[in-house]
C-alpha cells in the first residue's frame, strides 16, 4: 500500500497534474456558480478536453472540477440564494441570511473552511476504506457484480426523494433501454439501431450526458427566463465583510465539522445517496443537536447551520469515489459520468484498478486532498472576483454553453448525426424535466447497462444456462436481499400512510 501511495504521490505531484487540479478547481468553481449548471455538466464539458490526456491526469482534472463545482455552488447559494448545485441548497438556508446581514465574507470563509475540513477528513477515510474494500472486492465474481449493479440502480431510485421512487425507477429503466441500442455485446449482432450505421456502436455516453445535463440545463434557464445577473450584480457590489473567523466561532464549528464529516462520508459511500442527501441530513442532525438560542438561530444565519451541510457535501463527494474506484460502480450521477470517462480512457474500473493501475487509483485520491488545499488558499481570497463572473449576461453565456457542449461531442466522433441527436435528446430531456423526471438515474442506468448485461450473460453461461447463482452464491444473495429491502421500504411507507389516512377518514 505504501508503494501505491508513493506512486500516486509522484504522479499527483507532477507539474502537469498539479496544474490540472488548479485548473479543475477554478473551472469547476466558475461553472458550479452558474445557476442551472451543476457538477455533472461541469465534468461532462471537461471530458472532450481530457481525451488526449493519460487516465490519471484526466481523472485528476475531473475530481478538481467536481470539488470546484460544489464550492462554486456554495458561493452562489450564499451570495444570491441561487444554488448552482442541488448539494448546496441546504447551504443557502443559513449562508444567504448571513450574507444579507453583511457577513458574506464570513459566510464564504465558513463554507471554505468547512468544505476543506470535510474534504480532508473524508480523504483520510477514503485512504483507508478504498484499499480495504478493493481487497474484499477482488473475490467478487460476475454474479456478485450483476447483483451490485442492480443494488446501485435501485438505491439511486430509493434515495430520489418522497414520491419520486417510481419516476426514478422509470428513468433507470430508460437508461438501460438506451444502453441496449447498438450491437449485442456477445455476438455483435445489430440491435435496436433503426437500421442506421451511426448507431451500430450505440449511443455515446458523452452525447447523452451533455444533452441531458449541459444542453438541457442551459435550455431550461432560457425556457424559465431565469435572470440572475441583477441579483448577482447587487451581491458582488455589496459589502463582503471580513473573511476572518473568531476563536469562539472556530470552537463552535469544530464539533459540527467532525460529526458532519463522518456522516457525509458514509452517506457518500452508499450507492445512490450523494452530496444532496448528506447535506440535508447533516443540517437536520445539527439542528436537533442544538439547544436553546443556538437552535433558534437556524435559518437566520447560524454558523452551525452553514458549516454542517458544507462539510457533509464535500465529505460525501469524497465518499462517492469509494464504490467508483473499488467496485467500478458509481454511486451518483456525477461519478457515473466519471466512470464513463474512465471506460473511454481504456481503464477497467473496479478492484483491479487498485492492483493494476495504482498510479490512477492513488493519484486520484491524493489529488482530492490537493484540490481541497487549492480551494482553500486560492479560491477563498479570489471569490469576490470570481463572483463577478456571475454578472456575465445569460444571453451571451447560454449560446457559449451550447457551443461547447455540441463541439465537445462532435470532436470525438466528427459525425454531424451526433449533433442532430443531441438536439433531439436535449429537447426530450427538457420535457421530462418539466414533468419532474430525474436525469441522474438514467445516466447511471445507461452507463451500467452494458456492464450489467455482460456480467449477467457471463454468469448464466458459466452456470450452464441457469440463474440459480442468484440464490446459491451467498454474496450475490446478500446483495439482492439488501436490494429487495431497499425496494420494499418505500412501498411499506406508502401502504402505512394509506392505512393511516384510511383510519383518519374512519375516525373523522
Amino acid at each position: 500500500m505504501l508503494d501505491g501511495i508513493l506512486t500516486g504521490l509522484s504522479t499527483a505531484l507532477t507539474p502537469t497534474n498539479l496544474a490540472m487540479v488548479f485548473i479543475g478547481c477554478f473551472a469547476g468553481t466558475f461553472i458550479g456558480m452558474l445557476p442551472g449548471l451543476g457538477p455533472i455538466s461541469a465534468i461532462a464539458l471537461m471530458i472532450p478536453i481530457t481525451y488526449g490526456f493519460d487516465p490519471a491526469t484526466g481523472m485528476i482534472l475531473m475530481a478538481g472540477v467536481y470539488y470546484g463545482a460544489i464550492f462554486g455552488g456554495s458561493t452562489s447559494s450564499i451570495l444570491i440564494n441561487a444554488p448552482g448545485v442541488a448539494g448546496t441548497v441546504a447551504t443557502s438556508f443559513d449562508g444567504y441570511p448571513m450574507a444579507r446581514k453583511g457577513l458574506a465574507g464570513k459566510a464564504l470563509a465558513i463554507a471554505a473552511y468547512a468544505s476543506f475540513s470535510g474534504g480532508t477528513i473524508a480523504a483520510i477515510f477514503l485512504l483507508i476504506a478504498a484499499p480495504a474494500l478493493a481487497s474484499v472486492a477482488l473475490s467478487f465474481q460476475s454474479p456478485d457484480y450483476f447483483a451490485l449493479m442492480v443494488l446501485g440502480l435501485t438505491a439511486v431510485s430509493a434515495f430520489a426523494g418522497r414520491g419520486n421512487f417510481l419516476k426514478a425507477m422509470m428513468m433507470t429503466v430508460v437508461g438501460l433501454m438506451l444502453a441496449m441500442i447498438g450491437s449485442d455485446p456477445v455476438v455483435g449482432m445489430p440491435r435496436l439501431n433503426f437500421g442506421r450505421v451511426d448507431l451500430l456502436d450505440g449511443i455515446s455516453f458523452l452525447l447523452l450526458a451533455m444533452a441531458t445535463f449541459a444542453l438541457s440545463e442551459a435550455l431550461m434557464t432560457v425556457l424559465k427566463r431565469e435572470k440572475i445577473s441583477d441579483a448577482a450584480r447587487a451581491a458582488t457590489q455589496g459589502r463582503m465583510g471580513s473573511l476572518k473567523l473568531s476563536g469562539a466561532e472556530v470552537k463552535e464549528m469544530a464539533p459540527v465539522v467532525a460529526r458532519s464529516s463522518v456522516l457525509g462520508f458514509f452517506i457518500g459511500v452508499l450507492p445512490g445517496a450523494g452530496a444532496t442527501i448528506a447535506s440535508f441530513l447533516a443540517y437536520g442532525m445539527e439542528r436537533n443537536f442544538a439547544r436553546g438560542a443556538k437552535k433558534e438561530e437556524f435559518g437566520k444565519g447560524s454558523i452551525r447551520g452553514l458549516a454542517a451541510p458544507e462539510t457533509a457535501n464535500n465529505a460525501a463527494a469524497s465518499g462517492s469515489f469509494v464504490p467508483l474506484l473499488t467496485l467500478g460502480i458509481p454511486g451518483s450521477g456525477t461519478t457515473a459520468v466519471m466512470l464513463g470517462a474512465l471506460i473511454s480512457y481504456g481503464v477497467d474500473p473496479g478492484p483491479t484498478l487498485f492492483t493494476e493501475r495504482p498510479e490512477v487509483f492513488w493519484s486520484v485520491i491524493l489529488s482530492m486532498y490537493f484540490g481541497n488545499v487549492i480551494l482553500l488558499i486560492l479560491n477563498l481570497p479570489l471569490i469576490p472576483y470570481i463572483a463577478r463572473l456571475l454578472t456575465l449576461p445569460s444571453n451571451l453565456l447560454v449560446p457559449l454553453v451550447l457551443f461547447f457542449s455540441l463541439i465537445g461531442v462532435y470532436l470525438v466522433s466528427f459525425n454531424n448525426f451526433d449533433i442532430y441527436m443531441m438536439v433531439i435528446v436535449a429537447v426530450v430531456a427538457v420535457m421530462l424535466r418539466l414533468f419532474d423526471y430525474p436525469m441522474a438515474p438514467m445516466i447511471l442506468g445507461f452507463i451500467l447497462g452494458d456492464l450489467m448485461e455482460r456480467n449477467l450473460r457471463r454468469s448464466i453461461t458459466l452456470n450452464d444456462g441457469s440463474i440459480s447463482f442468484l440464490w446459491e452464491r451467498p454474496i450475490t444473495l446478500t446483495i439482492l436481499v439488501i436490494t429487495a429491502v431497499i425496494v420494499a421500504l418505500p412501498l411499506v411507507g406508502f401502504f402505512r400512510q394509506r392505512r393511516r389516512l384510511a383510519q383518519a377518514g374512519e375516525g373523522g
Binding site: 417510481l166 435550455l219 457551443f403 414533468f435
Partner: protein, 168 residues
C-alpha cells in the same frame, strides 16, 4: 387526468413500443435458446410497462404531480417556447453547416444567431463575443493541441475555391 398520469401514459407507450421493437431483434440460430440479445431488452420493456402501469394506477401523493393536466399544459404555454425552438433550429443548422462551410464560419454564425435569439442586438457585442472566441478556440485546438477540425473552408468553401482557381 393529472400531470404525472400524462407522463405515465407516455412511458407506457414507450415501453410497449420498445418491447415490440425488441421482438424484431435477430438472434443467430445457435443462440436460439437461453439468454440472447433479445432477452434483456424484452425484460426491460416488461419492467418499464409495469412501472408505468403502477404510476398510472397507484394513488398519487399531494404535490405538483397531481396538478390537473389542463392546468399543467396551460402553464407550459407561459414558458418561452419560441426561443427554445429557435435555439434548437440554430443547433440543427450548426450541425448541418459545420462540415459544409467549415468550423470558423459555421461557429461564428451559430453564436451570432444564438446571441440575437436571446435578445442581444448590439452588433459590436455580437461580433466581439463571437469572432475572437471562435478564432482563439480554433487556434488553440488546431495549432496548440493539434486537434483536426476538418477543412477551415468546409466542403462548400472548397468547391467554391476550386471553381475560382479553375476559372482563373
Amino acid at each position: 387526468m393529472t400531470r404525472d398520469r400524462i407522463g405515465a401514459l407516455f412511458f407506457l407507450a414507450v415501453s410497449i413500443a420498445y418491447g415490440l421493437m425488441s421482438l424484431d431483434i435477430r438472434v443467430p440460430p445457435f443462440a436460439s435458446e437461453g439468454f440472447t440479445a433479445r432477452s434483456l431488452p424484452l425484460a426491460l420493456s416488461a419492467a418499464g410497462t409495469l412501472i408505468a402501469f403502477l404510476m398510472l394506477v397507484l394513488p398519487q401523493k399531494d404535490g405538483p404531480g397531481v396538478e390537473p393536466a389542463g392546468r399543467f399544459l396551460a402553464g407550459l404555454g407561459g414558458f418561452d417556447w419560441p426561443r427554445i425552438a429557435g435555439l434548437a433550429l440554430n443547433m440543427l443548422a450548426y450541425g448541418f453547416l459545420l462540415t459544409r462551410v467549415g468550423f470558423l464560419v459555421s461557429t461564428i454564425l451559430f453564436l451570432i444567431v444564438g446571441y440575437r435569439l436571446l435578445g442581444e442586438r448590439r452588433w459590436h457585442v455580437l461580433l466581439l463575443a463571437s469572432v475572437p472566441v471562435v478564432v482563439v478556440f480554433w487556434a488553440i485546438l488546431t495549432q496548440l493541441l493539434d486537434i483536426f477540425l476538418g477543412s477551415a473552408l468546409g466542403r462548400w468553401g472548397q468547391l467554391l475555391a476550386a471553381q475560382f482557381s479553375g476559372g482563373a
